[in-house]
Amino acid sequence: MERPEVRTGTRLALPFALAVGAFGVSFGVLARAAGIGPLAATVMSGTTFAGSSQFAAVGTIEAGGAVASAIAAALLLNARYLAMGFTVAPALGGSRLRRFVTTQLMVDESWAIAHLGEGRYDRHRLIGAGFLLYVAWVAGTLIGSLGADLVGDPEAFGLDAAFPALFLALMWPQLKAREPLVVAIGGGAIALALIPWTPPGVPIVAAAAACLVGLRRR
């Protein structure tokens, strides 16, 4: 039993948990602004547990996109968990159910905390960090969506501007290297070019094609 590592994970995740909880509150509020009730928003946080994709689904609905576009936008953002799942797989142990549950606690922050360096991961840290973040995210969502009634008219509070600002803030740390920056400019340009010609939502999904830059030989 390597219990201390669980506690290490929880301790390292504490500062992130405050931010994640606050983001959960804002997700609840923005979900209500897009017409998603407290129960649906909270169930989504509990099952998807991936902030940017949940905001993407809500942001696509808010922009008037179709159901298929909202789903596609969210899943395109979550495809990275496929890659991340492969990186932690060797560190996981126990039954299939146990491994499944452990992987569900994987979000960007708990994944980073579980990383011991050189591609090695600690599953106890993943559990300790992931569980705290999970509770913060789900509880924050519930509080935000129940409290959203207090906000009133979302546009009067500038909540429609909160969406682009949020996506910008999520994207910002990923732009330090040249390749992601080029891909982001490409994705943004594709979206801008398609907005006048396609139904809302389509530009978001089509912009994903910019990631194919990563496939070329080097």
């Binding site: 931010a19 998603i36 989504m44 099952t47 998807t48 940017s52 994709s53 993407a56 689904a57 696509t60 808010e62 159901v67 789903i71 936008a73 969210a74 899943l75 953002l77 979550n78 495809a79 990275r80 968990y81 492969f86 797989a89 491994r99 499944f100 992987t103 569900q104 009067a156 509070f157 500038g158 501007a161 909160a162 682009p164 600002a165 949020l166 996506f167 910008l168 999520l170 994207m171 910002w172 990923q174 390749e179 992601p180 982001a184 994705g187 943004g188 979206a191 801008l192 907005i195 006048p196 396609t198 809302p200 530009p203 978001i204 912009a207 994903a208 910019a210 990631c211 990563g214 496939l215």
Partner: protein
């Protein structure tokens, strides 16, 4: 099933599969390096599109309104290394103020 619950169910179910696939389905094997790179670049590509669509998107039209003030404030705040949450609050507040004045 309503549209909202359809989105909740599909996004939740497929995300669970994404997270667990490496551990459960393809035991020990790794994805090819170019595929891993492309998957990682999906983030910036889709997030950039979400910024653009939520900033200037309308119903089959580009709409330039008070939202752009919030986006501009967000860019400045991020350039000054402000954390994400205050950035979002500043963007919403500045847009709300401009609406109030205009």
């Amino acid at each position: 099933m309503s549209d909202v619950w359809l989105i909740v169910a599909v996004v939740g179910g497929v995300t669970m599969l994404f997270k667990s696939a490496g551990a459960l389905l393809l035991g020990g094997r790794e994805l090819p390096a170019p595929a891993m790179r492309a998957i990682r670049l999906l983030g910036p590509a889709v997030l950039a599109a979400l910024v653009v669509v939520n900033a200037v998107g309308g119903d089959r039209a580009l709409v330039f309104d008070e939202r752009l003030v919030g986006v501009g404030v967000a860019v400045i705040a991020l350039a000054l290394k402000a954390p994400a949450l205050p950035v979002v609050v500043l963007a919403a507040a500045s847009t709300a103020v401009v609406r109030l004045i205009a």
